[in-house]
């Protein structure tokens, strides 16, 4: 089973342009807030109508602007888990679930309900109203309700945005257990790279309304292709770059770093993760820096550095060390640091896709 989306929508000055493919696995739609993730889900679910494009789910055309196909949400068979769960406040848990069961006689519906209540550990809560439930219980009701409507795909819109982090972690484990039984594509919208890393197999990065292609987790975290993707994967340091064979020239830092591989001609920026900057005595890619500031984080120390050759006004280089390593060298005003050649992320401008993807 699969979902294929290629849509475009203009909303004032905002231009949404999304292409993505999702198979029988959990695919993340990752992007900063306001980049159009929720709007994309709404278009897929049929709540918002795209200006043009095509949406196909398991060979069923749900939307096609050229053929004039636009199925209403009721006929798309998509389970949509809304951010605040959207349980009907005027109905009990039981009725919330029952109203979503589409097929069968009254007795069969009752049986489906009973199974769902058991599976989602909601027994005893049948007569409660949504406002009487905890966040976790609400989420379970919402999920039970969605699965009872027998969807062909599940759409999750920031499932944990309403919860605090302690609760969130437990619920995340629970949700991934419950989702594991689902046969079909799952689209998981998130802005949290940790959540994506723990729960998803593939990732589609969305940057200011434009999708950046679907990649595997491995590709996103080890070889992000654009600065937007690198930022979402948690990379903190960026500089303009000029490709020079196997190396890059970084004019802002006054450095040339070896990359150990041929640098693609469309490389415009490099990204360096804060924990890939290490104190060194010398060797490949070692360069002198000045310590600007030291910030103690919860479990690590963040040191803001300025490469000796850096131009005025360039943002500082961020180095992240465990506290012991920093203890050993702290107090020095000047240091030598290095970056492994393979740790340098070569980035092309966001929004431009390489030719082979088109």
């Amino acid at each position: 089973m699969s979902l294929s989306v290629d849509i475009e929508k203009r909303l004032g000055s905002f231009h949404l342009q999304v292409q993505l493919e999702a198979g029988d696995e959990v695919t993340a739609l990752l992007g900063a807030s306001g980049c159009g993730k929720s709007m994309t889900l709404k278009c897929i679910a049929g709540i918002v109508r795209p200006d043009r494009g095509r949406i196909v789910l398991n060979d069923r055309v749900l939307f096609d602007s050229e053929q004039g196909v636009d199925l209403p949400p009721q006929k798309r068979r998509m389970g949509y888990l809304f951010q605040q769960y959207a349980l009907f406040p005027n109905m009990t848990v039981e009725k919330n679930i029952l109203c979503a069961i589409r097929e069968g006689t009254a007795a069969e519906k009752r049986r489906t309900l009973a199974e769902a209540l058991e599976r989602f550990r909601l027994e005893g809560l049948e007569r409660q109203y949504p406002r009487q439930l905890s966040g976790g219980q609400q989420q379970r009701v919402a999920l039970a309700r969605i699965l009872c409507s027998r969807p062909e795909i599940i759409l999750l819109d920031e499932p944990f945005s309403a919860l605090d982090s302690y609760l969130k972690y437990q619920l995340e484990l629970e949700l991934s257990d419950q989702l594991s039984a689902f046969q079909g594509p799952i689209l998981w919208v998130s802005h949290d790279r940790g959540e994506v890393f723990r729960n998803c197999r593939r990732v589609c990065v969305l940057d200011r309304g434009a999708s950046q292609g679907t990649v595997t987790l491995e590709e996103l975290f080890h070889r992000p292709a654009t600065e937007a993707a690198a930022q979402l994967s948690g990379c903190k340091n960026y500089a303009d770059a000029v490709p020079q064979g196997d190396a890059v020239l970084l004019p802002q830092w006054g450095l040339t770093l070896s990359c150990g591989r041929a640098v693609p001609a469309d490389t415009r920026r490099v990204g360096i993760r804060a924990h890939h900057v290490r104190p060194a005595e010398g060797g490949e890619n070692a360069f002198p820096v000045r310590v600007l500031r030291v910030v103690e984080d919860v479990f690590s120390t963040i040191v803001l550095l300025r490469p000796e050759g850096a131009a005025e006004g360039v943002p500082p280089l961020r180095m992240e060390l465990d506290k012991e390593t920093w203890q050993a060298i702290s107090g020095r005003e000047k240091l030598t640091v290095s970056v492994q050649a393979e740790d340098i992320l070569l980035l092309r401008p966001s929004g431009e896709r390489p030719k082979e993807d088109v």
Binding site: A86, N90, G135, L167
Partner: protein
């Protein structure tokens, strides 16, 4: 004491409230979906009766429904029914006067309704009719009921437009308000006072009902959802 004016006032108010329930709810629902400019214009037009003097409304209605006017003449000719100076004439005037009250109150309630509930219902396969009557209306019940009670009260007290279009015929078109005026005109103070007391009693009950609706969390939940972690 002849209780006809009470009975007449009650039936006129009840019928116009039922009409206004459907008219107000559907106007509020569909107008909220229109483009902003059209919505703004319709808002002004539909709220006009709230600020116009009832006599102006009565005058306009007479111009429209009178036996020699466009609509009135046509209805008289086609169905043989007179639209003015009958007990049901008052329904026209009260309906027009109370429409804005209902429309405004219901629109406020609908605007507070969380649209994602409707989207969620749609993705679950529920029909739009089901969503409207079983989710949207129950969630907005407080506002809709308050609008109906207020409209009913206003209809009961309508005087200006009603007296113009239905006149005052004892036992036929008399309502509480036109009766009070008539009794005062004819120096029948004692009876006028009785009707004033009846009116006060009804108004008190209505206001108590409105307060109860607003204060008590008597329905499961208002339109807005409460967030709980």
């Amino acid at each position: 004491m002849d209780w006809f004016p009470l009975w007449n006032s009650l039936r006129v108010a009840a019928i116009s409230t039922v009409i206004i329930f459907f008219a107000g709810v559907f106007a509020a629902y569909y107008i909220a979906r229109l483009p902003r400019l059209v919505k703004g214009v319709l808002d002004v037009v539909l709220t006009l009766p709230l600020v116009l003097p009832p006599t102006v409304i009565g005058y306009l209605l007479l111009r429209l429904l009178g036996p020699k006017r466009v609509v009135g003449a046509w209805v008289l000719e086609t169905f043989g029914i007179k639209l003015v100076m009958t007990w049901w004439s008052a329904i026209f005037s009260t309906t027009v006067v109370i429409f804005p009250l209902m429309y405004r109150t219901v629109r406020g309630a609908f605007e507070a309704f969380d649209e994602t509930l409707a989207y969620s219902g749609q993705t679950l396969g529920l029909s739009n009719t089901y969503i409207f009557w079983r989710i949207r209306m129950p969630c907005c019940r407080q506002g809709v009921l308050a609008g109906m009670v207020l409209s009913f009260a206003r209809a009961l007290g309508e005087y200006g437009a009603t007296s113009m279009i239905a006149g005052y015929t004892p036992g036929r078109t008399a309502t509480i308000s036109t009766t009070v005026y008539q009794l005062w005109q004819t120096n029948n103070d004692a009876l006028a006072m009785k009707w004033v007391l009846v009116n006060l009693a009804i108004s008190a009950v209505v206001l108590l009902t409105v307060n109860m609706l607003e204060r008590r969390d008597f329905l499961v939940e208002g339109g807005r959802r409460r967030r709980r972690a």
